[in-house]
Amino acid sequence: MSLLQILEPGAATEEPVIRRLAVGIDLGTTHSLVATLDNGQVRVLLNDAGEALLPSVVGFQADGRAQVGRAAREAAIHNPGATFHSIKRFMGRGTADLAQAGPLPYQVVEGDGMIRFQTPRGPLSPVEISAEILKVLRVRAEAALGGPLHGAVITVPAYFDDGQRQATRDAARLAGIEVLRLLNEPTAAAVAYGLDKGSEGIFAIYDLGGGTFDLSILRLRQGVFEVLATAGNTALGGDDFDRRLADWFLAETDLALTPAAYSELLAHARRAKEALSTVEAVELAFDAGAGPRPACRITREQFATLTADLVQKTLQLTRRALRDAGFTPTEVDGVVLVGGASRMPQVRAAVAECFGKPPLIDLDPDQVVALGAAIQANVLAGNRDGEDWLLLDVIPLSLGIETMGGLVEKIIPRNSTLPIARAQDFTTFKDGQTAMGLHIVQGERDLAADCRSLARFELRGIPPLAAGAARIQVLFQVDADGLVSVSATEESTGTGAQVVVKPSYGLSDEDITRMLADSLAHAQDDARARILAEQKVEAQRLIEATRAALNADGAALLNDAEIAAMLQAVQHLEDSLAGSDGEAIGLAKSALDALTDPFAARRMDHNIRTALAGRRVQEIGG
């Protein structure tokens, strides 16, 4: 495997083709599904009963065992306090966010950081509950494809902030899935449509799911899918329409319900909502126990009136995204509908009116995201049997820091293309100051308190200097998945300041390690053996990659001393692999990493220069 090989577009690859099993997973609020691409055909993987959609419902039985999907949904009535619906709404959220979720039948564990619910298995975070859904999908995929998964592309709402993205990534880790990429749902939908139709132009992706709304404006051309703008609301979706209907029913019938009975009523409301997509009127009834069985008839038109403001909210966000992208609704070439809730006739009509053209509905709105994710997973796994294309995504919410007086200073504005690296200088305000705190927030509001808190950083080890003399450069990086990282250096002396991170709602690495150990049947020893095995594989890959890189570009880009040092580090790492000392392997690997990093950067530079040179030749020739 020549890992450092630079791929020339159009050049034939002569490596033997090893297919890596890769899937796309749509981890949805209401349901989840998994898809894959083989023989050029993209398809959704079914369970034993032939069903594609796995209801995103997790129930914990008295003995702590988890039930996922339809079984959990059917058992919910007997176990409402330990059956979790729409858990995605709580990913990366704290207890303060519960207020807007409405009445819940769960017991919340008091505490800071991410919310935790009391279950028969003990207190669990939304990350651990979501991991149960992902485990079921992983097992389904491995059974269907006949081998262990190489990795998965997991989709997230484009509007997810860093905390919600981290939580999704952590859930995959707990489920034993290697995340190739977190892909925005609308981008995935565009991939599914774009490749089917080979179309070019400006597209709007209107995605109304169970619990979230996303609107993205994309441009497709020259094999590049470029996200121009995105807007949305992570607390607006089909569930809100159900709740509207249920609350209307309660007001009409003067009923008062327990939280458990209310969640049952919500299920009735959801079915009534779905029925209204095909018929003009339905009867919503509810068995409240003793006495007469209250029932109300509702027409499609009444339902549209009840929910008109919810639809309007989506259109406001649509106009914002269009304005950010610099387009008017009529300049959009196609509108793609995604998410089960986009089936509602009042939604389709409103979208058609806003853009002045009927939306595209050729692909199943419940499947289109997973299909697109599967196509991208295949590319990222290195199974290059499709055309080459590239997805350029954006950061959905501005990234800033809290300054004096609780105001936000924006460092990276929303809709900047990923990945991003931006440096900002800070200084000390007291003589001899050796530490400073930074509060990182995400959002568009002027006050830090109105934005979402991502993390608090403490920079320590700043050399003691006069006030204002130290220059601390803080580097904010956002990778292609939209995940944020921060590092700092003191520039006047060149010492790296130490960064201590306290994520506001995320899980620390120790949390994840503990959860992984908890989930492994035979705790400690197995976990250690697994980590050592993974470490050895990683090291072996690095050795092969380094050798291949040296063969390809070593002579051109390195001097003799550099080559000798690298070969020595390779030898050293190989020696350490013979033993089973994890620490020694780790040290030898870091030593080699330190040498290969600058080499990789030089190779990438070389690659860019070649690109420019190639273009020049083309221009002269053409």
């Binding site: 450092l4 590049v224 690296a421 990659a545 290969t596």
Partner: protein
């Protein structure tokens, strides 16, 4: 990382350091380079190569972002010529511009208070037209006359305009979301 601050964004795309740029050509070069270095193109390679890809892709994004927008492009071009637009603040702006700016502000405030959406939209349009006029003037001062001090003044006018345009758009949005 310090090199990022001092880097020449024009050199990144191998285009001449001038204010007038062909946006189509710039974009073509940007997409072509991103197609090669984007981390997704190196996803199945080793960690060092992936880290290098993220760094390079971020550098290209940063360069393109700065060159795409006339305001940041002119500021960057002047910085390369040794002129710091902000420290050129001691030179007073022309009185007629300051006067015009005050009247735009008053117009904006009145329209916002009245919730007059049409008036806000008209104001935003005339601000955008004024920005276009300034951009055309900058092509002459920066590329033809090469009068950097006069250019710095125009760039500062562009900054005022951008803030006004943002405020007008925020007012339109505020009205839509209320």
């Amino acid at each position: 990382m310090t090199a990022m601050v001092a880097s020449d964004y024009f050199a990144v795309f191998d285009v001449p350091p001038a204010f007038a740029q062909d946006p189509t050509e710039l974009e073509r070069r940007y997409l072509e380079m991103q197609t090669r270095v984007h981390p997704d193109r190196h996803a199945h390679q080793d960690a060092a190569q992936r880290r290098a890809a993220v760094e390079q892709a971020a550098r290209i994004n940063e360069a393109y972002r700065n060159l795409k927008d006339p305001l940041t492009r002119s500021t960057h071009l002047l910085a390369l010529r040794g002129v710091d637009v902000l420290s050129a603040g001691s030179i007073p702006l022309p009185a007629d511009f300051l006067f015009q700016q005050m009247s735009w502000h008053e117009d904006l405030e009145a329209a916002r208070k009245a919730g007059d959406q049409d008036r806000l939209t008209r104001l935003a349009e005339s601000l955008l037209a004024e920005r276009e006029r300034l951009v055309q003037a900058l092509i002459r001062t920066l590329d033809e006359e090469r009068d950097d001090n006069a250019a710095a003044q125009r760039v500062r006018q562009l900054m005022f305009l951008r803030r006004l345009i943002e405020q007008a758009q925020a007012a339109i949005e505020e009205w839509e979301f209320s």
